[in-house]
């Protein structure tokens, strides 16, 4: 049988093009599988290890203030295992010679003796001494700002500048993905980091001494978070609870988990798509091979080879291709997992995240690839069984050709060239194979269109957000609610400021039937031009004078439609004495798209009335002369009332820079799809060419040019490709809405819209890959030895 292996290898060598294309498609699938699976495992392992070793909390509470000495008593509440209180405070850094506003989230450190939750892993240096002006910063901030031990950081605390000495860098499980606000898409360690200061040091510097504003706790095994939350809400009611969230909603954890989920999803689906395309190619290729080698099969049967031996021989083609593609993809995947892991290290501060050399996925990948190849191979080679040896030695009977349905439209049919007529008849001559090609092209098209619409999606999350939604230049967030009129008045008189709009952002729990969700309600002015709510057609939607607007994802989560009533609870609402405590209902007036963040929107006045508060707001949106922004920031960033100043242009630039590297991945997928399309069509061309070489050679003898002969094959392929594209449109919609549903989170919603440009782009890409394949086929036709072909016996 060794001799037959030589036959396989020589035949593969003679038909390199198709086989290489097929190996590439398989390798791509396996590359995605191996690299992503390894990275997934690295990330998950690092996450689990880090959470375990640092005792990451199960629940997080934000409140206005809670007496420190009463924290331990909370551990007696049913279900709570351990609980700790901290002060968490965002502060700005004072930079003498830099205008960029860097800020730190300060977290107080309890003494190591009585602190077990969310422990720090020290990367460099040591813990700060209690009472001393010493600080630990997170490693990303430390590195991005080129800090070293002993450097000083000047913080603006309660309006005063206080200098701290850096004694080390340390990582907490809470800030693996350190976002300043959940609305940011990426961490920016250059301007935002986490600082850790001993509790007593911080206590001495803040107004609310001996109060904590942040609690973290773990649950006893088997405890239901919702029940504990209800208890806590009642117990802590007097202390201004802003939110109580489980670990799964904690920003850093949620992002990391979401990344893990999507990584796993991609690692499982992408390879299947590519292996599926490869299986189609292998299957059609094998069918062709067996058809072509009828005589050889008959001869092998005459020699006394058993069916099993012959099938095994023909299976060795897909198995050879499968194992080579699998091995290549697997090895490249292992290699790619190293830079990919490094890329994740850039975004996620996970101390244990390391690249590992894993053969497991190489073997699994090869097994997967072999399984697909074998499946297509067995399906393709079963025809061997049906061949009677004496039958096999004779040439196959000509395939019966009947008139096709299209020919009933006589006038249309007559207009077609003879080549087009031949092509179309050929489609119906082998309907199963034509269908497979159509399916393959539909997959290729939808992969491309989805890649293109990812670009659109990225635009919605970035450019669209900045150019159309948040059209302000500066957003000034306040540390506590302030009277609107006076603030707007004073800001409006600052140099360069042309418009000021107040915003009231209120944390709230929205309930509908048994669904509930905690989201910030945004109170906007009726005629707001600095924050725009836009409908699907990008038309401005005004906040209604009464009632509430919800984002479409929120509407889905709460299962509400326009006209439904929502129960709204908010810690900011004044207690009512007579009515149902803290509860009130609002009618949903509209459902609007929202891509970044998850919000409900109201008229600011209606919101104030609803909360039974006076005229208050929590931030100011400002339109101003760009040249004055830096002076404005200098003036206000140290102010006591100001928690942060966001420069819209700066945020936009930052995110666009990040997106630059992202768009590469998007196009990468499109290119991969193109290669698959090429392989599919090239294979089909080679099959047509070998099956019909006599027919084509006759045409050449008749005096047709190679180009005219090519048209016989191409007219068939263009028809199939166009059918594939048409079928690909609904497939793309399905794929995209699956992706959108899978990837949308509270931080951003992926729009499931397929813009026309994506469809056009994908169609162009698909047609281009077909054209390239045909150009290669043309070279073959030009060298077709037609005289010899016609001279050989049929």
């Amino acid at each position: 049988m060794v001799v037959l292996h030589k036959k396989v290898i020589r035949e593969i060598k003679d038909n390199k093009g198709v086989y290489v294309a097929c190996i590439i498609v398989i390798a791509i699938g396996l590359l995605a599988y191996t690299s992503m699976s390894i990275v997934y495992e690295n990330l998950e392992r690092a996450q689990q290890d880090f959470y375990q070793s640092t005792h990451f909390a199960d629940g997080f509470i934000q409140l206005t203030g809670y007496p420190e000495n009463k924290v331990q008593a909370l551990a007696n509440l049913p279900g709570i295992d351990q609980i700790e209180g901290r002060i968490v405070k965002d502060v700005n850094l004072y930079d003498k010679n830099s205008s960029s506003n860097r800020s730190l989230r300060l977290v107080s450190l309890n003494s190591p003796a009585d602190s077990t939750l969310n422990q720090l892993q020290i990367e460099d240096g040591r813990l700060p001494l209690d009472g001393a002006a010493e600080i630990l910063v997170d490693p990303k901030f430390y590195k991005a700002n080129h800090l070293s031990l002993g450097d000083k950081l000047t913080l603006i605390l309660e309006g005063k500048r206080i200098s701290f000495t850096i004694v080390g860098s340390a990582q907490s499980p809470e800030f693996i993905y350190a976002l300043k606000s959940p609305q940011d898409l990426y961490p920016d360690p250059q301007t935002f980091g986490i600082g850790y200061i001993p509790k007593n040091t911080l206590n001495a510097l803040v107004k609310e001494a001996n109060q904590v504003n942040n609690l973290v706790f773990t649950l006893k095994p088997g405890t239901d978070f919702a029940a504990v939350k209800d208890t806590l809400q009642t117990t802590l009611k007097r202390y201004g609870v802003k939110n109580i969230i489980p670990r799964k909603d904690q920003t850093s954890h949620a992002i990391l988990s979401n990344e893990l989920t999507s990584l796993k999803g991609t690692a499982q689906t992408l390879p299947i798509v590519f292996l599926g395309v490869a299986a189609i190619i292998l299957y059609t290729m094998l069918l062709r091979l067996i058809e072509q080698q009828r005589g050889i099969i008959g001869m092998l049967k005459a020699l006394g080879f058993t069916n099993r031996e012959i099938i095994r021989h023909y299976l060795s083609y897909p198995l050879f291709i499968g194992s080579l593609g699998g091995l290549l993809g697997g090895i490249l995947g292992i290699a790619l997992s190293f830079p990919l892991t490094t890329l994740y290290q850039e975004y996620f501060a996970l101390p244990g995240l390391r690249s590992t050399f894993s053969l497991k996925y190489l073997f699994l990948g090869i097994a997967l690839s072999l399984a697909f190849s074998l499946l297509s191979g067995i399906k393709g080679s079963l025809n061997i069984l049906r061949l009677d040896p004496s039958e096999a030695m004779r040439p196959a009977a000509p395939v019966s050709t009947r008139k096709t349905k299209i020919e009933q439209f006589t006038s249309l049919w007559r207009k077609l060239s003879a080549q087009a007529q031949m092509g179309i008849r050929n489609i119906f001559r082998v309907p199963a194979r034509s269908l497979i090609t159509v399916l393959g092209m539909a997959v290729v098209f939808s992969l491309m269109s989805v890649s293109w619409s990812m670009q659109n999606m990225m635009d919605k999350l970035t450019t669209f957000q900045f150019d159309s939604v948040q059209t302000y230049d500066v957003k000034l967030s306040l540390t506590r609610p302030v009277g609107t009129k006076a603030t707007v008045y004073s800001l409006a008189h600052e140099p360069g400021v042309s418009k000021v709009e107040p915003v009231l952002e209120v944390p709230a729990t929205l309930k509908h039937q048994w669904y509930k969700k905690e989201v910030p309600i945004m109170g906007l002015t009726q005629d707001s031009t600095l924050y725009n709510i836009l409908d699907k057609k990008d038309q401005n939607v005004k906040v209604p004078p009464n009632g509430i607007l919800v984002s479409d994802r929120l509407a889905k989560l709460l299962q509400v439609k326009v006209g439904d009533s929502l129960t709204v609870e908010s810690p900011l609402s004044r207690e009512r004495i007579s009515t149902d405590v803290n509860k009130q209902t609002l009618v949903v007036q509209g459902i609007v798209p929202q891509y970044v963040g998850l919000n409900a929107f109201m008229d600011i006045q209606a919101l104030q009335d609803f909360l039974q508060q006076g005229e208050i707001s929590t931030s100011m949106l400002i339109k101003m002369n760009p040249e004055e922004i830096s002076t404005f920031k200098d003036k206000f960033q140290d102010a006591n009332l100001v928690s942060s100043i966001e420069d819209s242009q700066e945020s936009k630039d930052k995110i666009e820079k990040m997106m630059g590297s992202y768009s590469f991945t998007v196009y990468f997928l499109a290119v991969l799809a193109g290669i698959a399309g090429f392989a599919l069509i090239y294979n089909s061309s080679i099959i047509s060419l070998s099956e019909r070489q006599r027919e084509l050679a006759s045409l050449r003898v008749l005096g047709l040019t190679p180009k005219e002969v090519l048209r016989v094959i191409t007219s068939e392929q263009w028809t199939l490709t166009v059918c594939g594209i048409i079928l690909g449109i609904p497939l793309s919609y399905g794929l995209l809405s699956g992706i959108a549903q899978g990837l949308s989170t509270d931080l951003y919603s992926i729009p499931a819209e397929l813009p026309l440009s994506a469809l056009i782009g994908a169609a162009a890409g698909t047609l281009f890959s077909v054209w390239v394949a045909q150009a290669r086929t043309y070279r073959r036709i030009k060298t077709l030895p037609f005289v010899e072909i016609l001279a050989t016996k049929e």
Binding site: K7, L303, G304, F305, T306, N307
Partner: protein
């Protein structure tokens, strides 16, 4: 001499759609061990069909066929495969060599599946191609290709060698060389050889000649003094 193959009332009917064609219309024959037999007939007389049935390539529609007393007409596909593997060697008019295997490899392919194969090198020497063993079929002449086909058929050391118009595609000189090689095998290895042809000149070298006409054996002649291949001419 003992009987190697015996056929009784063999009929073969082909069905194409609703049309039935009776190619063999009830044939009786006996083939003895070590015989050199020629089946002579015009095209369409059913000789290739008969050869295919004898070689276990296809089954008769009716009738009995015994090989060394074993009923081949009752054999399953797997048993027929085993029969072809162990007992039969085929030689075809168009050689049917593997185009991408060398001469040596083509022969080795058959040797690999045989129980008691002859030595590949020796068989190649016997057919006079030891110097060309690394050539691919496309690099060989028709006669050389047919001699490789012969080597491939005999390397399995079969008891029965079936040849379908072995000289049909060759010029007279090359054809005679091929026939000489076959005659030698018959004499040296005591191999039973059955050749079907429409060339009546070749019949002169056979021990017995079966004349096939319209699906029945018209008559059988016995050559008391068969000619040597080199005495033939056409």
């Amino acid at each position: 001499m003992t009987t190697l193959l015996e056929g009784k009332a063999i009929r073969k009917i082909f069905k194409t759609g609703t049309v039935e064609t009776e190619v063999l219309k009830g044939i009786d024959f006996q083939i003895l061990e070590g015989e050199f037999i020629i089946i002579l007939g015009q095209s369409g007389s059913g000789k290739t069909t008969l050869l295919n049935i004898l070689g276990g390539m296809t089954q008769a529609t009716e009738g009995e066929l015994h090989y060394q007393g074993q009923p081949l007409h009752k054999a399953s596909d797997a048993e027929l495969t085993l029969y072809r593997r162990k007992e039969v060697g085929f030689i075809f008019q168009h050689y049917n060599l593997m185009p991408n295997l060398t001469a040596y490899e083509n022969v080795k392919l058959a040797a690999d599946i045989a129980e008691h194969p002859l030595e590949v090198e020796k068989v190649l020497t016997d057919v006079g191609l030891e110097d060309l063993k690394d050539h691919f079929p496309s690099q060989l002449s028709g006669g050389q290709q047919q001699r490789i086909a012969i080597a491939r058929a005999i390397v399995k050391n079969p008891a029965l060698l079936l040849c379908d118009e072995p000289t049909g595609a060759l010029d007279i000189q090359t054809g005679i060389q091929v026939l000489m090689a076959l005659k030698q095998l018959n004499q040296n290895y005591h191999m039973t050889i059955l050749i079907i042809t429409h060339n009546s000149e070749i019949a002169k070298m056979a021990d017995r000649v079966l004349f096939l006409k319209d699906g029945i054996i018209d008559h059988i002649t016995v050559n008391e003094h068969p000619l040597a291949p080199e005495e033939l001419t056409w």
